[in-house]
């Protein structure tokens, strides 16, 4: 992975942390150099600071995205404007963290992003004791198959594709049911309840927000 951060102390801490977890990590202090490096080398993940001395992190991000480079990017910012988050996500960032942050949080987020990238390649989603095989359409906890039905697998796929995002029942119905079928929100509710029961005790969890919908996340 690549870390683009101009503050040496913070960069050193992050690099050390990731190395101790067994990841290969490169560090660049300047946006321009990071852009060059990304042109020649592929990374699983880029952690990008917004306040760089030569050019804004948003700028770097846009340059990368213009090249059709889909490398996951996590943005770090210490700016007080709350809008940074939106600008970052608009510019094509996959996630966003505000300084100062918890290092455990940073590595957890990075793992999610890297996993997403790797998962797309290996067709496997792994989080703690939870494994989902996209090809075989099976989910297992500690190696024990969850015995999911078709619809539940579809539902799980939707949740895994939208971790940390609130999904309304309508969103879910739209994604699971075809146009001809008449989706009942009640049925969606029951399905979520079943999926939750079947994945109970795993790192994958679905939280209900009454009046709004569901939000899925994985614990480490």
């Amino acid at each position: 992975m690549l870390l683009v951060e101009d503050n040496d102390d913070l960069a050193e801490t992050i690099v050390e942390r990731f190395k101790s977890e067994g990841h290969a990590i490169d560090r660049e202090a300047l946006g321009e150099e990071a852009c060059d490096l990304l042109r020649h080398k592929e990374f699983d993940l880029v952690v990008l600071d917004i306040n760089l001395p030569d050019r804004s992190g948003f700028d770097v991000l846009r340059t990368i995205r213009q090249r059709n480079d889909a490398t996951p990017v996590l943005i770090l910012s210490a700016r007080s404007e709350v809008d940074d988050r939106l600008i970052g996500l608009d510019a094509g960032a996959d996630d966003y963290l505000t300084k100062p942050f918890d290092f455990r949080e940073l590595s957890a987020r990075c793992r999610v992003l890297a996993r997403r990238q790797a998962g797309d390649a290996t067709n496997q989603f792994k989080a703690g004791n939870f494994v989902f095989d996209r090809l075989a359409k099976t989910a297992s906890i500690d190696g024990v198959d969850c015995a999911l039905r078709n619809r539940e697998v579809q539902l799980l796929e939707v949740f895994l594709g939208n971790l940390g995002r609130v999904l309304t029942k309508e969103d879910l119905a739209d994604k699971i049911y075809t146009f001809e079928e008449v989706p009942s929100l009640n049925a969606v509710e029951q399905m979520v309840t079943r999926l939750r029961r079947k994945t109970d005790g795993s790192a994958f969890q679905i939280k209900t927000v009454r009046g709004l919908g569901y939000i899925a996340h994985v614990t480490e």
Partner: protein, 465 residues
């Protein structure tokens, strides 16, 4: 707007009034002078015409006239004027004098004198025509006398009258303007005094101005003093705030430093770990404090800069809740959301600063989580009616006793036992409510804990800042 001196404005106003009055006086004077000059000299013409007519008679069956010397003498009272005369009959023509003197249109002979102005031999002249009916042997008919006189004496008299009148009027004007000048200076004197006093003031001097006597100025001084008082209070507030901030951050950092030192001195590994986890806690608290200080400063700064726009509170509340959820994903706190209008069309946007409102809501939600028990139920509700949109946050925690609610809105008033709270959260909410003219109410929630509701009025005029 261009600033003009009050004195100049008053002077210009009064000056133009005087000019108008002078013009009216001049027109009146001119008419009057012309009339009186004409009247005086017309009398001369009339008496001359009469004395000529008296000396007209019929001789040998023909009208005849013997121009008396006295008539010429009368007219000689205007020494520089030239006189033309003509005596004629309506039928027989000129008896004596210049026969090309003009006559008024449609002249009918009459024993009443008739005056008219006409130009003759290149000069404006005043004419009189008067007739007498002669009855004698062999002739009876009108004998007409026409006298013309140049206007020199008349003009001179007219000019004299106008000059004298205008002289007096101008004198009065000048005296009047001098009075006005003194009056203005006298009236403006207290204002100039205030200006001088404010200018000479030291920037740190925020004592009220001395009261002064005129009623109008006294109320001005009252307003200025009110403003000075508000400024002083606001300065006091920011001074206290800076002092509070310094105190809080330094305390927090000192604690951190102390705990780190203690941790380093620990030989025993488990105890060192225990110390370090406390250091971590303390760091988290310091981070939260810093974030809130920045957020507070940002909210205040944005309020000063008026960045209002149409805000869909429903969508905004949803976004904030979604963000907050990510932070508390692993917790056992249950969240609930609703957004309803009394009528469907009541859910219209309000006028506000979305970033400030977002900060306020985020702080409310964080507060609800942090002050509540581990298993908590938090409700975020947006409710709209015709004139307003309310946002409420309810929690199932312990709440705040009624008598402490007002104090909870003040800065650095953390009421909870858990020191994770910096005491700034509610004061940020309060500042946002204030800049939006929103009503902020803390009540008992039906869920058991605290209910904080912010009621935003609709319409752009609802915002004050």
């Amino acid at each position: 707007m261009k600033q003009r001196s009050l004195r100049r404005r008053l002077l210009i106003g009064m000056g133009s009034a005087f000019v108008v009055i002078l013009s009216i006086i001049y027109i009146g004077l001119w008419t009057y002078a012309k009339e009186s000059a004409n009247q005086s000299y017309d009398r001369l013409l009339k008496s001359a015409a009469l004395s000529i007519l008296e000396r007209s008679f019929v001789s040998h069956g023909k009208p005849s006239v013997d121009i008396p010397y006295s008539a010429m003498e009368t007219l000689g009272l205007a020494p520089n004027d030239r006189v033309f005369y003509r005596v004629f009959t309506v039928t027989g023509g000129t008896i004596t004098g210049s026969d090309d003197l003009p006559l008024p249109d449609d002249y009918e002979p009459s024993s009443e004198p008739e005056f008219f102005d006409r130009s003759y031999s290149g000069e404006p002249m005043r004419f009189i025509v008067q007739a007498r009916y002669l009855r004698g042997a062999g002739y009876s008919g009108w004998v007409v006398v026409e006298l013309g006189q140049t206007r020199l004496a008349r003009s001179e008299l007219e000019f004299d009258l106008i000059q004298n009148g205008l002289g007096v009027a101008t004198l009065i004007t000048i005296v009047g303007l001098i009075f006005v000048w003194f009056g203005i200076n006298k009236a403006l004197h207290p204002l100039i005094g205030i200006e001088a006093e404010l200018r000479q003031r030291d920037t740190t001097d925020l004592t009220p101005l001395k009261p002064q006597s005129p009623r109008e100025v006294a109320s001005l001084i009252g307003s200025i003093n009110g403003f000075i008082e508000r400024l002083r209070k606001s300065l006091d507030h920011s001074q206290t705030f800076i002092a509070d901030v310094a105190h809080q951050t330094r305390t927090s950092l000192s604690t951190l430093q102390g705990q780190l030192e203690l941790a380093r001195e620990q030989d025993n590994l488990p105890e060192m770990r225990e110390r370090i986890s406390r250091v971590e806690d303390q760091t988290r608290r310091t981070i939260r404090l810093t974030n809130q200080l920045i957020s507070h400063a940002m909210v205040i700064h944005r309020a000063d800069n008026q960045v209002m726009q149409a805000v869909d509170l429903c969508q905004l509340a949803k976004d904030v809740l979604e963000q907050t959820l990510r932070d508390y994903m692993a917790s056992k706190v249950e969240f609930e959301f609703s957004c309803v209008g009394e009528e469907e069309e009541d859910l219209t946007p309000i006028w506000g600063d979305p970033i400030a409102i977002r900060e306020a809501l985020r702080n409310l939600l964080h507060n609800a989580v942090q002050h509540g028990p581990e298993i908590n139920h938090i409700e975020l509700r947006v409710a709209a009616d015709k004139g307003s949109v309310s946002v409420c946050v309810d929690d199932a925690g312990e709440g705040i006793p009624e008598d402490m609610r007002a104090a909870a809105l003040e800065r650095f008033r953390s009421l909870g036992e858990r020191r994770a709270n910096s005491g700034l959260g509610l004061s940020i909410v309060s500042a946002v409510a204030q800049t939006h003219g929103a009503e902020l109410v803390l009540t008992q929630s039906p869920l058991g804990g605290l209910r904080v509701s912010m009621r935003f009025k609709k319409g752009a005029d609802a915002c004050v800042a």
